[in-house]
């Protein structure tokens, strides 16, 4: 459909307006990170000021940022890898060798995501304590793997389902065993989907706060715990909290920015032509 110039401008205005509205809290936080504490809480809010890096200096001085950063990388990366290793064969089996109960299993898996996490906090905490997993990276990797598995399996399942059945049947007639079908056809055909599933799992694990705060205290704390540590003890310091938050979400925003093409391609890729 052809749009007139007026319509184009209107669409652009609405689009930008909505985007700004949604991004506003983040933008405001980014601004606050470069203000002094008094500027940060000033009312009416200040938009123009001389930026300062003193908040970042203070944050770095008080906390060991690289420690948190490394934990986040290990926990998000490790749990994603593990979820893919478990999820790929699971989704393969469900997509190509379904039983009468496959659909039920899928729905049940997804339904576990509908329950508030806090509902199982006590049993999980107790189990983690008995298993010696409290405040360990492997404990968080384990937790995040479980947390992401339903979504990972669902996404992989839909990508596998999109592969036309005839292609695999043709391969069967050509003499490909299931393992060969998996490596030579399914993986290359669904690579964009698998990649975006992995990216999404990394992002979800990176941003997870509830379990990291409850199951880690010092050794295994990722960046979400790093932010939390700036919000509690000495009352609120908006500017420093903002600086800490910016440092925590910065890497994942950059990661998301760099991989956005891949993410969108994977999530919108339909029938394999």
């Amino acid at each position: 459909m052809e749009q007139s110039t007026g319509q184009k401008i209107a669409t652009a205005l609405v689009g930008w307006g909505l985007s700004l509205l949604m991004a506003f809290p983040i933008l405001w936080m980014a601004l606050a990170a470069f203000k002094t504490e008094s500027q940060a809480i000033a009312s009416p809010p200040i938009f123009f000021f001389a930026p300062t890096l003193e908040n970042f200096a203070a944050v770095f001085e008080r906390a060991n940022y690289p420690h948190f950063f490394l934990n986040s990388v290990v926990v998000a990366g490790g749990s994603t890898l593990l979820a893919l290793i478990i999820g790929l064969p699971a989704a393969y089996a469900m997509a190509f060798y379904p039983t009468k109960r496959t659909k039920d299993v899928l729905v049940w898996m997804l339904s576990t995501k509908m329950m508030p996490a806090v509902g199982v906090l006590v049993p999980i905490y107790l189990m983690f304590r008995s298993a010696g997993l409290i405040d360990t990276r492997s404990g968080l990797v384990f937790m995040y793997t479980l947390m992401n598995l339903p979504i990972v399996v669902w996404m992989l399942f839909t990508f596998f389902k999109d592969v036309p059945k005839e292609i695999l049947e043709a391969a069967l007639l050509d003499g490909a065993r299931p393992v060969q079908q998996f490596w030579m056809l399914l993986l290359p055909l669904t690579a964009p989907g698998i990649a975006s599933t992995g990216l999404l799992a990394v992002i979800l694990a990176w941003n997870e706060a509830f379990w990291s705060i409850n199951l880690s205290t010092s050794n295994a704390t990722p960046l979400t715990a790093f932010i939390a540590s700036f919000s509690s003890p000495e009352g609120l310091f908006w500017a420093k909290l903002s600086a800490a938050s910016l440092l925590a979400i910065g890497p994942i925003l950059a990661f998301g920015w760099m991989t956005q093409k891949q993410l969108v391609r994977g999530l919108t890729f339909g029938a394999v032509k």
Binding site: I167, E169, A170, L173, D174, V272
Partner: protein
């Protein structure tokens, strides 16, 4: 030698029986076309032969050996799918050599076979392309090439031309017939298009509701349909079929058409028998002393031939196929006749009652 034998083959999904009692002998180098309406079980039958679907009952023999439980790739068959089913991430050459690669054939031999097949199918210049960069007809040829490269005992085709436009379909039809001669291979071809069946088959197998209606050469089936179904399905335009009741006057049998008119029938029938009369459109001629009369309602000029639709009562239309000249004008009433030996009579069970053997 590559013959295929189906013995009392049947397929059920749970309690639902979709194919039953199939008996068929397919000889070496034969081109057999399975034809039938949508949902009659053609694909299911082909997939059972290929090994993609388990056989519920009966025996499938290839070269005399029972292969019900043999893996698809070990049956020595190649299948061309309606959707082509090419591997989208591989080049044309890799698509065609995939089976050989899996079988451990070395590179130079693979290349030789791929090039050979590519030459037959005129794909030489496309070998390095991906399927997405090909036209429908080219994809179809790659799918056939993938089958040829494997040197199969039997080729299976499932409606391979149905995604192509009319002109390309005719061209590929000719190419497939040529290929059949060139490779002198056994081919089993599924289609719902009776023109494809008539033009390509050595023998046609008409399938209906999961069973075989009739097996024969195209001309046998065209000239002597065993059932009303086959009579109506094979041939274009369709055979004229008139439902009627048998009556006897002075010892002669007449068919009292449901649409009102009466025709004499050259055979003895019990009065009151429900029958169906069939006459091919080209067997009907305008004839002022003919037994049927009706008003011309539509005339279609197809260039070399003309189709005239005549209302023979109660809105029942008879189709007449004639040459270039019109038989009259819309609104005219004409009389129609046909040679007695061009009349088909089917009994209440839908089976043909032979007047006399026709050859």
């Amino acid at each position: 030698m590559s013959s295929v034998t189906l013995n009392q083959i049947g397929k059920s999904y749970g309690a639902l029986e979709v194919v039953s009692g199939i008996n068929l002998e397919i000889a070496d180098k034969e081109f057999v076309v399975l034809v039938g309406p949508s949902g009659c079980g053609k694909t299911t039958l082909l997939r059972m032969i290929a090994g993609l679907e388990t056989i519920t009952v009966g025996d499938l023999l290839i070269d005399g050996e029972r292969v019900n439980r043999v893996r698809p790739d070990e049956r020595g068959l190649a299948m061309v799918f309606q959707s082509y089913a090419l591997y989208p991430h591989m080049t044309v050459a890799d698509n065609m050599s995939f089976a050989l690669r899996l079988a451990g054939v070395d590179k130079s031999e693979r290349d030789r076979k791929v090039n050979e097949a590519a030459k037959i199918l005129q794909l030489d210049h496309l070998l390095q392309r991906r399927p997405a960069q090909l036209s429908g007809g080219q994809r179809q040829r790659v799918a056939i090439g993938r089958a040829i490269v494997r040197d199969p005992k039997v080729f299976l085709f499932d409606e391979p031309l149905s995604n192509l436009d009319a002109a390309l379909r005719i061209q590929m039809r000719i190419e497939l017939a040529r290929l059949h001669k060139q490779l002198s291979a056994t081919m089993i071809y599924v289609t719902h298009d009776q023109v494809e069946a008539m033009t390509m088959a050595d023998r046609i197998v008409v399938v209906n509701k999961g069973g075989i209606e009739q097996v024969g050469t195209p001309m046998e089936i065209y000239q002597n349909p065993d059932t009303v179904f086959v009579a109506g399905f094979i041939g274009s335009p369709k055979m004229n079929l008139f439902e009627a009741t048998a009556t006897t006057v002075d010892g002669r049998t007449f068919a009292h058409l449901n649409s009102g008119q009466k025709i004499s029938v050259p055979m003895q029938l019990k009065p009151g028998t429900q029958i169906t009369l069939g006459v091919r459109p080209e067997a009907l001629t305008a004839d002022s002393s003919g037994p049927l009369a009706g008003e011309i309602t539509v005339i279609e000029h197809l260039g070399g031939e003309t189709l005239t639709y005549v209302d023979i009562g109660n809105g029942k239309l008879a189709t007449i196929k004639s040459g270039e000249a019109s038989l009259g004008q819309v609104g005219d009433t004409i009389r129609v006749s046909f040679a007695a030996d061009r009349l088909h009579v089917f009994g209440p069970d839908g089976r043909a009652i032979r007047i006399q053997p026709r050859h």
